[in-house]
């Protein structure tokens, strides 16, 4: 059986003054239809790039090895028309900052119906459908909203509109790239709840990128932890706290505000976050790992049984 979405030893090199360097080293991940997977990790770990690779959006000059397969089709083999079809019909993306990613001078109605109109739907039918989705996700006063422009809406409301636009195309997969980072904490929960509820109802798969472990575990079935262009651990969201085995995952869990009593200093992950370009040749986490051994610095650990760590080999 072919996986719904599969990253198969995906490696992406970008040109640097020192020659090509990897930003993604070896990403292995399979997502089932209708499944929600959270992709967490520090800045520069390659989360966004992993999501973007699904849509064939790689930085200029990047070379790719391995493959991303969506429903069995290697994204790398798609031509421009195939990519456009994939982007407009199969996969939708929700970005971090709704203010920046919506054309500021068009109305909300125009924005929501643009994809549908491209598919040949009439303006009134598209508006009715978009209005219905807005109402579904709890936006009130829909007729007025459709006539407003992005600057007239609050950030949280605008992000809901962006989610409605993503849902309107009835995609099989939604890529959410830190969809709540630009929002304040109270609206974050609302927006994530809407995304979660709607995708469950529609059976849409979700790749949810976040810095926020709590948020990711609340929304996702499984959590993939990324570090320096590699997935170091994959485990069910429910058992993230109890069953985390990789030293990096454990360090991330300790660094959350909830992990220490109020008033005490938060524990930090020692060292600075590394991208795939800077990471050491063996285990990517070796430089910052509290339990590092000699073997870790020379040999790349494979992702076996959900964790990529030499110390966890059964």
């Amino acid at each position: 059986m072919t996986a719904f979405l599969e990253f198969d030893h995906l490696r992406v090199d970008v040109p640097t003054p020192m020659g090509p360097r990897p930003v993604l080293r070896s990403v292995n991940l399979a997502i089932a239809a209708g499944e929600a997977v959270g992709l967490v990790g520090e800045s520069g770990s390659g989360k966004s790039l992993t999501a973007r690779s699904v849509l064939g959006l790689l930085p200029g000059g990047a070379t790719i090895a391995g493959a991303v397969r969506f429903r069995g089709t290697d994204i790398g083999t798609l031509d421009a028309a195939g990519l456009r079809r994939l982007r407009s019909r199969e996969v939708a993306m929700v970005f971090q900052d709704p203010r920046a990613t919506v054309n500021p001078v068009r109305t909300i109605g125009d924005f929501l119906t643009e994809v549908l109109r491209e598919r040949g739907m009439s303006r009134s039918a598209a508006l009715a459908l978009a209005g219905g989705i807005l109402a579904d996700i709890g936006v009130d006063d829909v007729p007025r909203r459709l006539k407003q422009r992005p600057y007239e809406l609050s950030g949280g409301l605008l992000q809901r509109v962006v989610i409605a636009a993503a849902l309107a195309g009835e995609p099989a997969l939604i890529l959410a790239d830190e969809p709540t980072t630009a929002l304040d904490v109270t609206t974050q929960e609302e927006v994530v709840a809407i995304l979660d509820e709607q995708r469950r109802q529609r059976g849409t798969a979700l790749l949810f990128i976040s810095h926020d472990l709590e948020l990711a575990t609340a929304v996702c079935d499984r959590i993939a932890v990324m570090y320096a262009g590699e997935i170091v651990e994959i485990l069910p969201a429910k058992s993230l706290h109890e069953e985390a085995r990789h030293p990096y995952t454990k360090a991330l869990l300790r660094a959350r505000p909830g992990s220490v009593p109020p008033g005490e200093r938060l524990q930090i992950v020692p060292g600075t976050p590394q991208s795939g370009i800077e990471a050491p040749p063996g285990c990517v986490f070796a430089d910052r790992c509290p339990v590092v051994e000699a073997d870790c610095r020379t040999t790349v650990p494979l992702l076996v049984g959900g964790v990529a760590c030499h110390l966890e080999v059964p």
Partner: protein
């Protein structure tokens, strides 16, 4: 010509535009000039081409408010009719150069790479070539008249428009919403047509309006040199030139009236354009 004019004309125009009454007045003058041009044949008191040698060099009178020229033609009527070609020329220039310049600029900014480099270099070369000289050369080669100088000047104005539009298109293109549109699966053509161009339109209108005044001066200069419209057509630039012998005869009205018309119109349009640019 255009470059040399740019500084002396734009700065005072900008100052005038900052004054409320001046920009209102300029707007009024623009509207008036356009109305006169549209309804010229009905407004003109006499046939602009009716020759009356016995009445040549008639002084200012009720019948001939600006007097008559060396052939006895009514100057006011000629001035009114002349507004048509004098406005139509620059209008065609900004429409042609605006459309071509914007199309080039947006496609260069969008496609990028070698195409952008090639377009930009060609525009630079065109930019280095004085527009007026280009127009005069083309008019000399293809024959004087309305079309040749106007088309040549349009070509010369393409880089002026295209430079500004390319910079704006590049900035617009780099905005996240454009990438979001690509992620939604829209083609480059769709994004350019439905998003980039509408968002750039206000800038284009301002650029075109500013260019209008310069194009008018350039075309009047070409007519003055005898390479534009030919007699007996009534055209402001031509009228200035044809009035020259009369000045020596002690009848400077024709040149003065036509020159004043050019100056007032150019200043009015430029002030309005600067007012729009400031918004």
């Amino acid at each position: 010509m255009t470059l040399a004019l740019a500084a002396p004309l734009r700065l005072p125009a900008r100052r005038l535009a900052a004054l409320g009454w001046a920009s209102s007045l300029a707007g009024l003058i623009c509207a008036l000039v356009v109305l006169i041009a549209v309804f010229a044949p009905w407004i003109a008191p006499h046939d602009p081409n009716a020759v009356d040698p016995l009445n040549a060099y008639a002084p200012l009178s009720a019948a001939h408010p600006l007097g008559t020229d060396d052939l006895g033609r009514d100057l006011l009527s000629r001035l009114i009719l002349g507004s048509r070609t004098s406005l139509a020329g620059p209008l065609v220039v900004i429409v042609l150069s605006g459309a071509t310049g914007t199309a080039l600029a947006v496609s260069a900014a969008w496609i990028g790479g070698w195409f952008d480099a090639a377009v930009s270099r060609v525009l630079d070369i065109l930019f280095a070539f004085p527009g007026l000289v280009l127009a005069i050369t083309v008019a000399a080669l293809f024959g004087a008249g309305f079309l040749a100088p106007v088309v040549a000047l349009s070509l010369a104005y393409v880089p002026i428009i295209a430079r500004v539009m390319r910079a704006a298109a590049l900035r617009e293109r780099s905005l996240p919403y454009v990438e979001a549109l690509r992620v939604q699966g829209f083609s480059g053509w769709h994004i350019c047509r439905r998003h980039l161009l509408p968002n750039l339109a206000p800038l284009l209108v301002v650029q075109a309006a500013i260019s209008f005044g310069y194009a008018m001066i350039d075309l009047a200069s070409i007519s003055f040199l005898g390479l534009g419209l030919q007699p007996p057509a009534a055209d402001w630039g031509l009228m200035i030139a044809n009035g020259q012998p009369s000045i020596l005869a002690g009848f400077p009205q024709q040149s003065i009236a036509a020159a004043v018309a050019v100056v007032i119109t150019v200043v009015a349009f430029t002030v309005v354009a600067e007012r729009m640019a400031a918004r």
